[in-house]
């Protein structure tokens, strides 16, 4: 175990542990992500299971699959993928997230390869994956087409790309900016720039131009009565997710 910490200062480790606890506190700073997470995981796991013919009821359902989680943060998606038996790389452009995610994975007894890098750099290094998870990232990048092209390059032929983002319309402005950032204070003000949001048709178009073949899209819908998110075939008005394949 000592090798994992190597020469890291114990005070630093304590700090990362505290930050990991914050990432994983369902009522803390990342509450909105924790609320959305089961719904995101339902989509991701069923899409992967369908594409790679895996049985989610079986142990280690994703054994043998190499999965990349872009924008991994504290590891909220990377850890479940590793727990299902996948070989997981978590990438984050924010260097501070990496040791935090590492500490938590170690506490959870999971082996995950966390890296401070970008999709573009990994593509340049010829990394290849069966699945690329690209959740709530594309609305933050400056050149979505170049970014999605890098995501396609990271996939093996026949590989699966799952990409979620926010729609651009008056309702998403009201919900994601006014509601989530200003009224509920779920997210810090300025987290999102509404003009960067992408409509589902625009995203499908971008995916095709990046050389991916869109196969599915669904909405993540928040129900204020049950205070929970669910998947919807019809309502893609605010948060939505897509699945696309790299042609063989």
């Amino acid at each position: 175990m000592q090798a994992h910490h190597g020469t890291v200062d114990p005070a630093e480790v304590a700090k990362f542990e505290a930050m990991a606890a914050e990432w994983w506190d369902p009522t803390g700073k990342f509450k909105p992500l924790h609320m959305l997470n089961p719904c995101r995981l339902d989509y991701i796991t069923t899409q992967i299971a369908a594409e790679f013919e895996r049985d989610l009821k079986a142990p280690d359902a994703f054994a043998g699959l190499r999965i990349l989680d872009i924008g991994c943060g504290g590891g909220l998606l990377a850890e479940p993928m590793a727990r299902l038996g996948a070989d997981v790389v978590g990438a984050d452009a924010a260097a501070g997230n990496i040791p935090v995610a590492q500490v938590h994975a170690q506490q959870s007894g999971l082996e995950i390869d966390y890296r401070h890098t970008t999709a573009e750099d990994m593509a340049a290094a010829d990394e290849q994956f069966d699945v690329v998870l690209n959740m709530e990232v594309v609305e933050h990048v400056s050149d979505p087409l170049a970014y999605l092209t890098a995501c396609r390059e990271l996939l093996k032929p026949g590989g699966l790309h799952i990409c979620s983002t926010l729609n651009r319309n008056p309702k998403s402005f009201a919900m994601a900016i006014i509601g989530a950032e200003h009224i509920m204070r779920w997210l810090p003000k300025g987290t999102h720039e509404w003009s960067k949001f992408i409509t589902p048709d625009e995203l499908f178009d971008l995916l095709k131009r990046a050389g991916l073949e869109p196969v599915d899209r669904q909405g993540f819908v928040f129900n204020p009565l049950t205070w929970a998110w669910r998947l919807s075939d019809r309502d893609l008005s605010v948060n939505y997710v897509t699945a696309s394949l790299k042609p063989r």
Partner: protein, 420 residues
Amino acid sequence: MDNPCCALILDVMNTDTDIAVIGGGLNGPLLALAMASQGHRVTVIDATAQSVRKNAAFDGRSYAVALTSQRLLAGLGLWDQLADNAQAMLEIKVTDGRAGEGPSPFFMHFDHAEIEEGPMGYMVQDRHLRRALIDAMDASDHITQLSGHAVTGQRAHPAGITLTLDNGKLLTARLAVGADGRASGTAQRAGIKRIAWSYDQTALVCAIEHDLPHHGIAHQFFMPQGPLAILPLPGNVSSIVWSETDANARAFNALPDADYIDMLRPRFGDFLGDIRLTGKRWTYPLGLSLTTEMVADRVALIGDAAHGVHPIAGQGLNAGMRDIAALAEVLTDATRRGEDIGSVATLARYQEWRRFDNTALAMATNAFNRLFSNDNPILRIGRDIGMGVIGALPGLRRGAIREAAGLTGELPRLMQGKPL
């Protein structure tokens, strides 16, 4: 390994078991079997040595198993072993009464023929249920039984929990489930607070043989001293749950068997012919006990450990079974998503699902008991009219039948007769 942080990490990385269940009564083994069926490793820890509970003769204790609970038992593969010894409850008659008087002219009658799902439930003897649970646990490769050991300590980590046993051994798990009853040490050690009060009533429990057949009809008489339930068992045998004030119960319990039955006889008249005691006599002090939370970090509570209610509607075991079906579903769904089964994020879903239902049940049985357990003439007239109204309106009556069968609320898959 001199770095404490690393020692701690090592100790949770390879947990001894996935789920540690504290309590080997009815709820603990049921949850263990549900989770073992999904491939989890489960360790059931019980302070009582197992041999004490095996091969018992009929001891007078039995349970009203609601239709939805029967589905859970069937889903876990236990019903085949229980079916032959179970008695279907086809009708329930509820009457307001006073010892020595006939039933009030107003009464409620619920017949399973009014709902399409089948009987409202089954009566199952305690010994048969325990036997079926132990046999099923013995047959499971995924269940380890630690009988005769008490848990003396527990400590939650970021990704696991360590239990200390009374022999000094440590057991690590992803999740600890407290099925250790109203005095739950698991809840206490997790810092979960409890609200409890006594009803100053005691339930006298026994079984009787009677000359005339019961036709599968369950009776509930509301007596001023407390409710009396007569529940059908196979043959000409019925289970009696007879609630009395603490003072009366103490006096009756001190009587020899023949005098005890003489006290019981006038309380429900002669509609079953002559009655005789069979099996032992039991007493249970009645009280309400609710925890403020059903979960904590790495800990979930089920059954009486979270909510002990008045047995007025026979819903105690059934509420526990709903906990089990809901928790098993939440944990199974989390497992299939790759989530951590012991995290607060996962366990909070179980609490949200069950807490409202459990609190409502506790409050309803509390209110019912207070309304019916007295001889105030105004309340007596009021409840007679109320029962007359419910009895006369088919919609209300069907609602009450569905409630008794456990068919209301958001049903877990196991209680809909579906696989986990």
